[in-house]
Amino acid sequence: MTIITPDTKPATGPGTGRVLLAYLTRDRLALAAAAFLAIFIIAAIFGPLLVGDAASRLGLRQRNLAPFSFEHGWIYFLGADTLGRPILARLIVGAQNTLGIAAAAVFSSMLIGGALGLVAGYSERWYSHLILRLADVVMSFPSLLLALIVLYTLGPSIANLVIVLAVTRLPIYLRTARAEVLELRERMFVSAARSMGAGPARIILRHIAPLVLPSLVTISAIDFATVILSESALSFLGLGIQPPNFTWGAMVANGRGYLATAWWIAFWPGLSIMLTTLSLNILSNWARTIADPQQRWRLQRLRKAAR
């Protein structure tokens, strides 16, 4: 009477790391992407210790040094920039800012936008309308203007740059979260919780939020890429991160004038950005495949029965 009937699938939910790893190894592209990201992240964390202050060491006599030569030491293997600083070193140090800023921006906008979206979706009160109007405003507020205002009033700093990027991405999370909530709050288990006397706070936090989170996370992966790119666009317009701080985006922006004469200055950071965003997109695709029970089998072993 209480046998688990055969048609019930085993859990492939959270907490089954080994399974995920197995899935990863089945998708070579995703595996490569994961590897790349891992490298970049490690570089971002430990790299600076490795290269020390090489990233800011001037070499005015070896400006725009061409890449692929060891004569000045391995650190110059990718060439030198307009002040003769080793590009490799700057890539490594820049990774910290680039990934750091993007991560911070995405995380905070996901947090705030998600929270606002939960409220706006669950409640019918005036403030949820206010939130929506706010989203509209932010959505049509030119990010450049915002960047300039923040730059001028708060001064150039990494934290402020994060604020700018985070605010501009807010609406996406807000709208997604809200849309999900609108659907979820009609779900039976929410009614069940209400009929048991659960308050709004509990319902939102315990019942709805956990189900909204995955889709927010999926977006954030792609958004991470978007943020890195728009950060570099800001640098291009001189509204992004300000020297002596730098990111990959800023490196590309500074090197753009040399594309004709010393391509490597803008190329390497450009490549890094591309690989990072590419990897993120690939991984998020992979994640979507796993999340979808209809597609999951594509990443499974599919052992056939003996004929």
């Binding site: 800011s56 060491r57 001037l58 005015l60 006599r61 400006r63 725009n64 307009t82 002040l83 300039l148 730059l151 001028y152 001064g155 150039p156 001189g238 509204l239 300000q242 020297p243 002596p244 500074n254 753009r256 004038g257 040399y258 594309l259 004709a260 004469t261 010393a262």
Partner: protein
């Protein structure tokens, strides 16, 4: 309408008669010029703004006098001769037979109108700033003579007059215009967000330029401007970045009138200590830094370029001596100067090519000699708060990246603003020095020149209120079709009349 057609006819006949060569090239000689940025407007009163002046000056509108690039002395343009009646009054004879592009006659009335339009305060007039706070009154003596009075002595009024652009009396007097009408060899034909087009003005009083039509476009990216000239999409671009000036055939370097420097805030410790200020100058690897700006760059020892009245070639620049710098700082520290306070190095985005890199480099060098310098790059408006008085109260010890452009031939446009206590950029407060400056400004001729030289020498050796960097080099790219060389005035004007076409 009828009138103009007559004009056309007349000029055509004229050409046919006495210029067979002109006839040959009468076939439209059009050129395209690509500028770095779009001219915001075409108000003749704003010709000292680079992108306005490069289009209008001496093409559409002409001043009373022009400055000779070599000597820095005023030459006649619409004014043929001038005499100083008394210290505050000058009398000018005007050129005869000059017509505006709208057919109006050029005469004393026109000059009066133009000057009043400038000083009237009804429109935002950048050029008038060159006169400082002087109050000008202009009166017509006869049809071709005017007297210009000033409320204080104006020894170099003829030089100043080079910014007084004469416009047709029909121009709106109380609002800025985008359709200037002057006496120049070209008249404005279109001004769209994409192009400005100038057509030759047949009724021009002077020598006919070879060029019959000039189209101006703008691209912010230096590499693209260079590419456009290379591919023949444009014939000339007045400025490209050094790294794009890769082709000796087409790319010319020229000493533009700009001088780059770092201003030291002498009011703030530890910068109020002379030794520290000297150390700042000694700590920079000038040759290395020069790499950023190209081989033709000229090391600066003072804030004006050669050819400006008051420039002293003998005055030598600071050399690179980090040891000495360290020593000076140690001494200062020994005397209790707080040398380890953080010094803010304030740069400005896009102030000149490689400006940011230069700041980064200098910061690193100063850190190398043990000064705690921190770089912040600001947007223009933000940067201006630090440049101009009143300075922000909370500014603290700071060094300011700046670039000074004096192409008006006389150090009077430089010294007071930088070194006089009242100077708009000056951090100094030295009554003695002020007296010296006032005295110099009052004098004329040789005395004036020597006086200025001594002031620059003092500023360099004893006061050390700034860190002169370089007299900047501009790079132009000129297409093979054209025969033209840039000079010190190229930053403010590109007279199409001086451009010849290679056949």
């Amino acid at each position: 309408m009828h009138r103009t057609s007559n004009h056309a006819l007349a000029s055509a006949m004229l050409m046919a008669a006495l210029a067979p060569s002109a006839m040959a090239q009468g076939a439209a000689q059009e050129i395209r010029i690509v500028l770095p940025e779009q001219p915001a407007n075409l108000e003749p009163c704003g010709t000292i703004i680079t992108n306005v002046g490069q289009i209008l000056s001496q093409n559409v509108v002409e001043p009373l006098t022009v400055i000779d690039p070599e000597t820095g002395q005023p030459q006649s343009k619409l004014a043929t001769e001038w005499t100083q009646v008394d210290p505050t009054t000058w009398r000018l004879k005007l050129r005869d037979g000059v017509k505006f592009q709208d057919g109006a006659d050029f005469n004393a009335a026109a000059v009066v109108f133009s000057v009043n339009r400038m000083v009237g305060g009804k429109i935002t007039c950048s050029n008038i700033a060159k006169f400082g706070d002087a109050k000008l009154t202009v009166t017509a003596v006869d049809d071709l003579t005017v007297e210009i009075k000033s409320d204080k002595p104006q020894p170099i009024l003829p030089t100043l007059l080079s910014v007084v652009m004469i416009v047709s009396p029909k121009t709106a007097a109380n609002q800025a215009v985008n359709d200037p009408v002057g006496t120049g060899p070209f008249k404005l034909s279109t001004f769209s967000p994409q192009t400005v087009v100038l057509d030759a003005f047949d009724g021009y009083w002077g020598k006919k330029p070879e060029i019959t039509k000039a189209t101006y476009v703008w691209r912010p990216e230096s590499s693209i401007r260079a590419a456009m000239v290379e591919t023949g999409e444009a014939d000339l671009t007045p400025s490209i970045a050094i790294q794009d000036a890769s082709n000796p055939e087409t790319d010319f370097a020229y000493l533009n009138s700009e001088t780059t420097a770092i201003r030291i805030d002498t009011a703030q410790p530890p910068l109020n200590d002379l030794r520290v200020r000297k150390a700042l100058n000694l700590a920079i690897d000038w040759e290395g830094l020069a790499q950023l700006f190209g081989d033709d760059i000229k090391r600066a020892s003072q804030m004006v370029v050669p050819g400006i009245n008051g420039h002293d070639d003998a005055l030598e620049a600071w050399s690179y001596d980090p040891e000495e710098a360290k020593k000076l700082i140690e001494e200062a520290a020994a005397d209790g100067v707080p040398v380890d306070t953080e010094i803010k190095l304030i740069g400005r985005n896009g102030i000149y090519p490689n400006g940011a890199e230069a700041m980064e480099a200098m910061m690193t060098m100063w850190q190398a000699v043990g000064l705690n310098v921190k770089l912040t790059m600001l947007d223009v408006a933000d940067w201006l708060r630090y440049l101009q008085k009143p300075f922000p109260a909370e500014r603290g010890a700071n060094l300011l990246q700046m670039m000074h452009d004096n192409n008006k031939g006389d150090a009077a446009f430089t010294i007071p603003i930088f070194y006089r206590t009242s100077g708009n950029y000056s951090t100094l407060a030295d009554p003695a020095f002020d007296k010296e400056i006032d005295a110099a400004l009052a004098t004329t001729g040789e005395a004036r020149t020597t006086a200025f030289k001594t002031i620059f020498a003092k500023a360099r050796k004893e006061v050390v209120a700034d860190i002169p960097m370089f007299h900047m080099i501009g790079y132009t790219r000129v297409g093979p079709r054209l025969d033209w060389k840039p000079d010190i005035t190229t930053n403010s004007e590109i007279p199409l009349a001086n451009i010849a076409i290679n056949d």
